[in-house]
Amino acid sequence: MLVNQFLILGAVLFCIGVYGVLARRNGVLVLMSIELILNAVNINLVALGSLQGPEAAVAGQVFTLFVVTIAAAEVGVGLAIVLLIYRNRASVDLDEVDLMKG
C-alpha cells in the first residue's frame, strides 16, 4: 500500500473539514468539521509513523492518542461555549456572533 494513499485521504478529509469550518453557519457543525480536520491529522500521524519502522509507529500512535484526548477536551469546551451562545441568543447561528466587528 502506498503511504501516499493514506496521506492523500488525510488531505481530502482535511480540506472537507476546512470547507465545513468556513461554510457552516451552525456552531455545532463547525465543531464537527474541526473533528474532521483532527481525524485527518490522526491518519497522517499513524500512516507516517508506520512508514518508518516500529518505534516511529508507536510514537505515531501515542501522538494520535494525545490528539484524540485534546479533541475531547476541545469539544467539551466548544460545546459549552455554543450552549452559552444559544442561551444568550436563542440560536447558534455564527453569523450573528460578530461582536468583534472592527
Partner: protein, 711 residues
C-alpha cells in the same frame, strides 16, 4: 600580641558601644565598663611592651648617608606588602648583601627591630590597594603604654569627679571613643587610617570640651577648638594627598618614609607635602599660630583636660611628625643644622606660651599654657633632630602634666572653683596628698634633677646643641627658666599663703588621690628610663628611620646638664623670691607704662584672639561675605534668571514654529495616515470567525505553494 595589636582599640571601641547601649542600666552607669576596658587595654599594652622588648633585633639596615645612593633597593628590606607581613621576616638577602660590601659608610650596620606589620586591603580602586592595618614598633608601644595608663587613671579619677553629672554615661562613652581614636592613630600603619583616628579624636574633643554645653562659653570653646583644629587639618589632608601621590600612590607610612629618604620623591612635592602636614600638626598640637584654642578648651571637665589636652590628643601632632620623620628630615633638611621651620615654630611657641602662663589667674589656664610650651619643646626637639629626646619628653610630660591637671581637678573639686587668686591659697594644710603630688608634678615640669622632666628636657637641649642648633638651645634654656618661674607662682598661689576661698576644703576621696599618687611615682621614675648608662628607652624606640636618615642620639653629658639645672634653680629662686619672699614690686604695672603695656599685652594673649576674630575672621566675614553676596546676586542670579528668560523666549518660539507646524503636522499626519490605512484594514475585520478562517487557510495555502515551487 604584636600581630593582633588591633585588639586594643577594638576593646575600647566595644566598650564605647556597650556603655552607649547598656550604660544607663548598670549600677555605676557605664563607668565600670570604661574602667574594665581601659584596664584590659593597659594590660595588653604592657604585654606589647614586654613582647617588643624581648624581640630580637633582626633587621639589619645599611644606613647609607642620605645623600649616598642606597645600594640595596629598598624593596629588599621593604616589608612584603601583601597583607599580613610579619615583620620578623628574616631578610636573608639583605644581610648577605651587606657583608659583601664590608659595610663602610658612616654608621656601621646595626641590627634593629623591624616593625610588625599586619595589613588588610580595605578597598581598591584604579589599581590602587588601599590597605588598612597595624604597624607596631618602639614608638607605638611607648605611646600605647602612656595613653592606656593615663586614660585608665583618668577614668578612675572621673568616676568620682563626674559623680552626679547629668550626662555621666555619655561622658564615659565619649572617653572610650576618644581613647579608641588615639589608640587607632597610634597603631595605624597607613596614613588614611591614621586620619580616621585623628578625626575621631577631634570629634571626641569637641564633644568632651562642650560637655556642659548648656553654658554658652563652653559650647563656644568647643566650637573654637574644633574649628581651629579643622583649619589645621586642611593642611593635614592636603599633605596626605601629596604624600600619597609623591610616594607612588600608597598611604603606607613605612613606604612613604622610604620613598622620602631614598630620594624617590620629587623635591618640590616633598617640601610641599611636609609643609602641609606640619600645618596640620600645628593645628592639632596647638603650636604658635593656632594655639589659641587650647586654653579655651579648659572649659571642659578637668579629667578631659588631663587626658586630652595634656597627655594624648595634643601629642598626636608630635607623634605624626615622629612617625613621618623621614619626610620632615628630608624636606626641612633637619640634619643640616641652622634654622628650620619646625624648630622655629617650636621655639616661638615655648616662649610666648611660657610668657602667657605668668599672667593667668585660672590654675587650668596656667597648666594649659605650660602644655603649649612643653609641646613647643617637643616640636623644637624634632626640629633639631633630637628624635628620641622629643619622644622621651612626650613620654615623661604626659605623666607629670596629667598629674598636674588631675591635681588641679582635685583642688577645684574641693574649692569648687579654678580661680587661684580668689578661692585658693594655703591648701597645703587641707589637702596634703594633693599638695605633695602637685609639688612633684611641678618640679618634674620645671625639670629639677631627680624628676623625669630634667632628663627629657636636658636631652632636648643636648640634642639641640650637638646637632648645631645653638640658637634653639638658648631658647630651650630660657624656656626652662620661665617654666620654673610660673610653676612656683602657680604652686604658691594655690597651696601657700592664706586660704582665700569660702567653705572648708577637704582632702579628695581615694578615687582621686590614688591616680595622683600613681602619676607621681611615674613622674619620678619615668626619667630614669633613659639614664645615661641604661638608655633602655633609646633601644626601645630606635627605628629604621634613624639609620637611614642618620639621626644620632647623644648620650648624657654632664656639663650641659649642670648648666640646665642651674638655670632651673635660678628660675625657682626667682619665682620664690617674687612670691614667697613677698618682694613683689607692688604696682609695677601701675607705675611704668611699658610694664602696664607689657602686662596688658600678655593678658590679652598678644591680641591674637582679636587678630583672629577681628582681623582674620572679621575681614573674611565682612569682605568675603559681601563679595560672595554680590557675586551671588549679580553673577549667579543673573545667570540663572538669564537662563530662565532665554529658555522661555526660545520655548515660545519653538512652540510657535516648530511644535505647531512641524511636530504636530507629523503626528497628525501619521494619525491620518494610520486611520486611512486602518480604514482599509477594517473592512477585513468583519467579526465573523469563518472569514478569518478563510483568510488564514488561503494565505497558508499560497505560502505553501510558493515554498514548494521556489525551494
Amino acid at each position: 600580641m604584636l600581630e593582633s595589636i588591633w585588639v586594643i582599640p577594638a576593646v575600647t571601641f566595644a566598650s564605647f558601644w556597650l556603655i552607649l547601649f547598656f550604660g544607663k542600666r548598670l549600677p555605676k552607669h557605664g563607668a565600670e565598663i570604661g574602667i574594665a576596658a581601659l584596664g584590659i587595654a593597659f594590660v595588653l599594652s604592657c604585654v606589647a611592651v614586654v613582647e617588643w622588648n624581648a624581640r630580637p633585633a633582626d633587621e639589619v639596615v645599611e644606613a647609607g648617608h642620605e645623600t649616598g645612593a642606597l645600594e640595596e633597593g629598598h624593596g629588599g628590606a621593604e616589608v612584603d606588602d601583601e597583607g599580613h607581613a610579619l615583620g620578623e621576616v628574616q631578610t636573608l638577602a639583605l644581610e648577605s648583601a651587606v657583608e659583601a660590601e664590608g659595610g663602610e659608610g658612616e654608621h656601621e650596620a646595626e641590627p634593629i627591630r623591624s616593625a610588625v606589620e599586619r595589613n588588610l586591603t580595605w578597598f581598591s580602586f584604579g589599581g590602587v590597594d588601599v590597605t588598612v592595618g597595624t604597624a607596631v614598633d618602639g614608638l607605638t608601644v611607648v605611646l600605647l603604654f602612656t595613653v592606656a595608663l593615663i586614660s585608665l587613671l583618668v577614668h578612675v579619677f572621673s568616676t568620682n569627679y563626674m559623680h552626679g553629672d547629668v550626662r555621666f554615661t555619655y561622658f564615659f562613652a565619649a572617653l572610650s571613643l576618644f581613647t579608641t581614636g588615639m589608640l587607632l592613630l597610634v597603631v595605624s600603619s597607613s596614613l588614611l587610617q591614621a586620619l580616621f583616628g585623628w578625626e575621631l579624636m577631634a570629634l571626641c574633643s569637641f564633644m568632651l570640651i562642650g560637655h556642659w554645653w548648656e553654658k554658652k562659653p563652653n559650647s563656644d570653646a568647643a566650637m573654637k577648638a574644633f574649628l581651629t583644629t579643622r583649619t589645621g587639618d586642611i593642611g593635614l589632608l592636603v599633605g596626605i594627598v601629596i604624600m600619597f601621590f609623591a610616594a607612588g600612590q600608597t598611604f603606607d607610612i613605612a613606604a612613604i618614609n622610604e620613598a622620602a629618604l631614598s630620594g624617590a620623591m620629587a623635591e618640590t612635592a616633598l617640601v610641599a607635602g611636609a609643609a602641609a602636614l606640619f600645618i596640620g600638626v600645628i593645628g592639632k598640637s596647638a603650636q604658635f599660630p593656632l594655639h589659641t584654642w587650647l586654653p579655651d578648651a579648659m572649659a571642659g571637665p578637668t579629667p578631659v583636660s588631663a587626658l586630652i589636652h595634656a597627655a594624648t590628643m595634643v601629642v598626636a601632632g608630635v607623634y605624626l611628625v615622629a612617625r613621618l620623620y623621614g619626610v620632615f628630615w628630608e624636606a626641612f633638611d633637619i640634619g643640616a643644622g641652622g634654622v628650620n621651620p619646625i624648630a622655629l615654630i617650636g621655639g616661638i611657641t615655648i616662649l610666648i606660651a611660657a610668657a602667657l602662663a605668668f599672667v593667668q589667674t585660672d590654675i587650668k589656664k596656667v597648666l594649659a599654657y605650660s602644655t603649649v610650651s612643653q609641646l613647643g619643646y617637643m616640636v623644637m626637639a624634632l626640629g633639631v633632630g633630637a628624635w628620641t629626646a622629643a619622644i622621651f619628653h612626650l613620654f615623661t610630660h604626659a605623666f607629670f602634666k596629667g598629674l598636674l591637671f588631675l591635681g588641679a581637678g582635685s583642688v577645684s573639686h574641693a574649692v569648687h572653683s579654678f580661680e587661684m587668686k580668689d578661692d585658693m591659697g594655703g591648701l597645703r594644710k587641707f589637702m596634703p596628698v594633693t599638695y605633695t603630688t602637685f609639688m612633684i608634678g611641678s618640679l618634674a615640669l620645671a625639670g629639677l634633677f631627680p624628676f623625669a622632666g630634667f632628663w627629657s628636657k636636658d636631652e632636648i637641649l643636648l640634642g639641640a646643641a650637638e646637632n648645631g642648633y645653638r640658637l634653639f638651645e638658648v631658647v630651650g634654656i630660657v624656656g626652662a627658666f620661665m617654666t620654673a618661674a610660673y610653676m612656683t607662682r602657680c604652686v604658691y598661689l594655690t597651696f601657700f599663703g592664706r586660704y582665700r576661698g569660702h567653705g572648708h576644703p577637704h582632702e579628695s576621696p581615694p578615687a582621686i588621690t590614688v591616680p595622683l599618687i600613681v602619676l607621681a611615682v611615674f613622674s619620678v621614675g619615668a626619667g630614669f628610663l633613659n639614664f645615661p648608662g641604661f638608655e633602655r628607652f633609646f633601644e626601645l624606640t630606635e627605628n629604621r628611620v634613624f639609620l637611614l636618615a642618620g639621626v644620632e642620639h647623644h648620650s648624657f653629658e654632664v656639663f650641659p646638664a649642670v648648666v640646665s639645672s642651674a638655670v632651673v634653680l635660678a628660675g625657682l629662686a626667682f619665682g620664690g623670691m617674687l612670691f614667697f619672699a613677698r618682694h613683689l614690686p607692688r604696682g609695677v604695672t601701675a607705675r611704668s607704662g611699658a610694664a602696664r603695656a607689657g602686662y596688658s599685652f600678655l593678658v590679652n594673649k598678644y591680641y591674637l584672639d582679636h587678630l583672629y576674630t577681628g582681623v582674620v575672621i572679621g575681614s573674611i566675614k565682612g569682605g568675603i561675605a559681601r563679595a560672595a553676596y554680590w557675586i551671588n546676586q549679580k553673577v549667579i542670579d543673573g545667570v540663572v534668571n538669564g537662563v530662565g528668560i532665554a529658555s522661555k523666549r526660545t520655548g515660545s518660539w519653538v512652540y510657535r514654529h516648530i511644535d505647531q507646524q512641524v511636530v504636530d503636522g507629523a503626528v497628525n499626519g501619521a494619525g491620518f495616515g494610520a486611520e486611512g490605512f486602518g480604514g482599509i484594514l477594517r473592512t477585513i475585520q468583519t467579526g465573523r470567525v469563518q472569514q478569518y478562517g478563510a483568510l488564514l487557510f488561503g494565505a497558508s495555502a499560497v505560502l505553501a505553494l510558493t515554498l514548494v515551487i521556489f525551494i
